[in-house]
Symmetry: C2
Subunit: 335 residues, 2 copies
DNA sequence: CCGCATCAGTTAACCGCTTCAGTGAACCGG
DNA sequence: CCGGTTCACTGAAGCGGTTAACTGATGCGG
């Protein structure tokens, strides 16, 4: 019953308090009115169960309290966690996330970016598939944009959260070196389209610094495909004593290959992953991997976009550091 | 530049065509105007790059083209997939999903349901933690509501997608019987609060029908906790030749227990799960499990809510059937 | 040729809030 | 006691659409 009847409007609150609608509007936002009036208005408001109509407010004020979240591919566990976290964090700040998924297709990503802008979101958080697209410039000129991962080319984004992948590589390689490994293979995912991980080049430099001999092998991201390649590498001559996989999913493929070949992990070959997928701690043996602090990333991104929207600009660029989760897959070789 | 300048309004299109704004509004929606006029208007509209302002439209028409999606707990992989799918499906129908997460807390769930309604979503899809809450009645009276999983008590929802868990149990038990198992243990998750799986009772009936001896053991949903209980069960006397876990996560615990005890799967004990978590196919051995067709569920839910919103009511209740994914964890015992 | 639908548009009133410009009163230094 | 601020609030014009009610043609059966 009571929910069927229309909700109270600002006019009714005005009437109830003997003020003008404008005064009520101001009072409820705590501006341009005396403390006492604000009190009275607030009282009347929740007496009547009044709450500003978000649509009307959006139309009049030009702000929707909605932030678009454009994900490159929500198939990815990693991006899902990010999306969930961002949704939650925005909600805590009285905003809603409009989450959309490009499904890995760059054109779709751009189309969706446009759609979000046309929906009048107040800002856009994007984990770009194609950071070099021209649209980003246009977009960033019309609404606040914060990137996660790859920075948008041209640097027009109002904020960016970047990952220190070089540091991740260093952590993994140092760990393996400390365990006494000297020869290792690095499996890195295909897609030169991911400058997300420019660290690939860093691998060689870092290996040299640490006195390691590394072979870099490019493999498809899927574990099945990775397994095939890993089979060849591990069955061939000069088998490495350790492998570093630039994605946990690749490590799963390596695990499969070792089982097939009857090799023990870490006895015959140590394995180190990258991303800390939650599944990785459940494998046999649990996978040592490079971990990103998702909450921190979420927090940074949300803070950036909200601050820009609210007009209080802060840091434009935040760099997040990874840490190493050491588990059983990188024991002492032969141990 | 061109994006900085304000977008065209309906009035400008009206001016350009020599029509009234109303006529343009009608024409663009293909009603109350001649074919020829519609054509002309359309031409002018995309000449000017006009697109209706969604906020203004929402205010005037009372429909936001947004659907609330209230998830009980997005920690859960299963619900994440559902959310991703629903978001995508709604997008394909030119609607946006407002995804929010109750984080497993029933009070939070209700608070969020209210918030979504206050945001003026056109409808609500909910996977209820507490289907018996009084709020649902009130809510369903004011906006279209579709439930997934547990039906809302009182049956006031305009649509419901339910899972045939009885069928799932039957599939699993028949499979194990066909493999020659006669004694088995069923691990079922705690939370009598999940009439989501009233099938628990069905287990006994079905076991009897199939001539199976079953022990039902209630365990916590987490695999770590499940592992402990499984240890006791599998180490004790009269070890079952097969176990059926009413959640894949429990099966992971069982796997851990078998490793600890040096038991082979399926050689010493066959394991069957429930839910088909994507990780389950990656385990050693891959887990036989009951699979739900997520796409089908997504499709049903979205279709239901959209049809109700659009005023063309169809089926109110859709029952989805599971299927069995047979993998290596349920081989012939001793094989 | 009349009366009545039907069609294609028009007019204007909203939808419910924000905000800009303005107004009267109180305050304040000189 | 006066000109100028500041304060608290009012009035009204939007924001950009939709929609109910109305108007003039046109068509049509009788």
């Amino acid at each position: 019953m009571s929910d069927k009847r229309k909700r109270a409007t600002i006019r009714e609150v005005a009437q109830a308090t003997g003020l003008s609608p404008a005064a009520v509007s101001y009072a409820l936002r705590g501006i341009q009115t005396s403390e006492e009036t604000q009190e009275r208005v607030r009282a009347a408001a929740d007496e009547l169960g009044y709450e500003a109509h978000p649509i009307a407010r959006a139309l009049a004020s030009g702000r929707t309290a909605q932030v678009g979240l454009l994900c490159g591919s929500l198939e990815d566990y990693w991006q899902q966690s990010l999306a969930v976290g961002i949704g939650r964090a925005l909600l805590a700040r009285d905003r809603y996330a409009l989450i959309v998924d490009a499904g890995g297709e760059p054109e779709r990503e751009l189309a969706l970016a446009r759609r979000l802008r046309d929906q009048r979101v107040d800002g856009l958080i994007v984990q770009p598939l194609d950071p070099s697209a021209a649209l980003w410039t246009e977009l960033a000129a019309s609404i606040p944009v914060v990137s996660i991962g790859d920075a948008l080319h041209g640097g027009q984004a109002q904020g960016e959260v970047v990952f220190d992948n070089r540091r991740g590589v260093t952590l993994a390689l140092e760990h393996l070196r400390d365990l006494g490994h000297e020869r290792l293979t690095v499996f890195t995912p295909t897609g030169a389209s991911t400058p997300d991980r420019p660290a690939d080049v860093h691998v060689n430099a870092e290996a040299e610094r640490l006195g390691l001999r590394v072979d870099v092998v490019v493999v498809p991201q899927s574990h099945a495909a990775a397994a095939e390649v890993a089979m060849r590498v591990l069955a061939g001559p000069g088998r490495p004593s350790a492998v570093f996989c630039f994605a946990d999913s690749i490590a799963y493929g390596v695990y499969a290959a070792t089982r097939e070949l009857g090799l023990a992990v870490p006895g015959d070959v140590a394995v180190c992953g990258y991303d800390n997928h939650p599944m990785s701690s459940l494998l046999t043996p649990p996978l040592t991997t490079v971990d990103w602090d998702i909450d921190g990333i979420v927090h940074s991104a949300v803070r950036l976009i909200v601050d820009v929207i609210d007009g209080k600009p802060r840091k434009r660029r935040v760099v997040r550091e990874p840490s190493l989760r050491v588990r059983a897959s990188t024991g002492v070789p032969g141990g």
